[in-house]
Symmetry: C2
Subunit: 240 residues, 2 copies
Amino acid sequence: MYNVDEEGATPQRRRLTRAEAKARTREQLLDAAARAFAQKGFAAASVEEIAELAGYSTGALYSNFDGKEQLFLELLTARRSRGIARQAAAVTEILEEEAAGNEDPFAALSQLLVKVADRNAEFAALQAEFWLYAVRNPEAMGIVAAKLDEQVDALEPLTTLAVERFGAAQGVSPRAVTRVILGLFQGLVRQRRIDPAAVPAELLTQALRWLFAGLQSATTTAGPQAQGGHTAAPKTPDDG
Amino acid sequence: MYNVDEEGATPQRRRLTRAEAKARTREQLLDAAARAFAQKGFAAASVEEIAELAGYSTGALYSNFDGKEQLFLELLTARRSRGIARQAAAVTEILEEEAAGNEDPFAALSQLLVKVADRNAEFAALQAEFWLYAVRNPEAMGIVAAKLDEQVDALEPLTTLAVERFGAAQGVSPRAVTRVILGLFQGLVRQRRIDPAAVPAELLTQALRWLFAGLQSATTTAGPQAQGGHTAAPKTPDDG
DNA sequence: TGTACATCAGTGAACGCGCGTTCACTGATGTAC
DNA sequence: TGTACATCAGTGAACGCGCGTTCACTGATGTAC
């Protein structure tokens, strides 16, 4: 569309400047590293393999990164995961569909998330690698925690809306609900990858329904202030 | 206590027979391997390290196993995870406490599970290693799926009891609820390891309460037969 | 615009190290008489 | 019970291979005039 002059203000077409070319190489190496680490794991994936996957030699890798570990850490810190972007996209999509009002939002949301999770199988593996790295290298925990927070941030708007629409007890914090939903999905999606038949998409839908039904009716337990009180209800009157 | 004759029928004290000694070595190597694989990962843990951790040389390892990978697979197949045994113990403990009737079973269960999860940090790491191995080596998926089933089996009795006691809609399958609870806990415990402050034990308790409250009231959605129907309820009468 | 030099992104062979695996050996346990 | 031999669980040095990292080099891009 745009046909820029010789000194183009938008540096997208034409020859790349040296810095741009280097940045492009960096990105390609990061892409390749993400794939390789997901497919083989941090320790088992070799730098030669990564470089080759990106279409470069190992030297190019060392020209752009301090080494294998720093490459991994760059993936961990610098890169906003695509998965999160996709989740955000999923969120808005669901918001729209639900605004239309003619679909079951729980089924739509869970099936979309399952579809996304099934499609890019590598994402979950890479995330597991990150988790293991953090567990084994406590100095990196903060970074992984921040990444987790990003995911919660991405999902929280949807939770807030759902809570508003379907109702919830007074003391219920949307962020807490979001964390629970995220945990629930992460756990079930992992199970699903191992045994798809045992964890159908409907199970996630079902779980969401249970949860939101519970949010409405579980008002009895905790008031807006105290969180840890114990209930009196479960006592059965006369017991054998 | 027992002071057996020279030909003891119970081969526990005294000198070990050759086969017994070998079995003992095998177990020690498996223990060491579990620790090493959990702490460093399958690829990064070395056989020398494992052997040394068990108090043997690498030759002993190769005298008992075909190699590093077979050792890992042995861990995956033969060993009933201690974590499962602990979970089962936790289950019965909760059953008893709940039978006494003077405690909040949700809080007791979740706090106990969190305590167990926090204590043996290695278990979750090893499980993540297993999961990654299965994802990368599909021929091992069945084994990991079976291991997962074991965990569901161990938790199902408690779920069944809880469903009976707190009530649930007709179509609710205890096994489905168990899978959801397991997924929920696995997901949240993983989050908790990364960011303990963000995932307090009370959040798990809360999640359990929501879920069981939902099980009681979410009857409307699915009858005992159809599972995938879409609800009419969420429509708000007049909307801006 | 054209030429001469400087820069530096990427090459790829080389290095050394740590790993998984092997194997000749050892000495304690098992067996035969 | 005692002796002579067989077995075999565990040893530890040795091997070769693949890995992460280095570095002298190349040729395309950038700069100065």
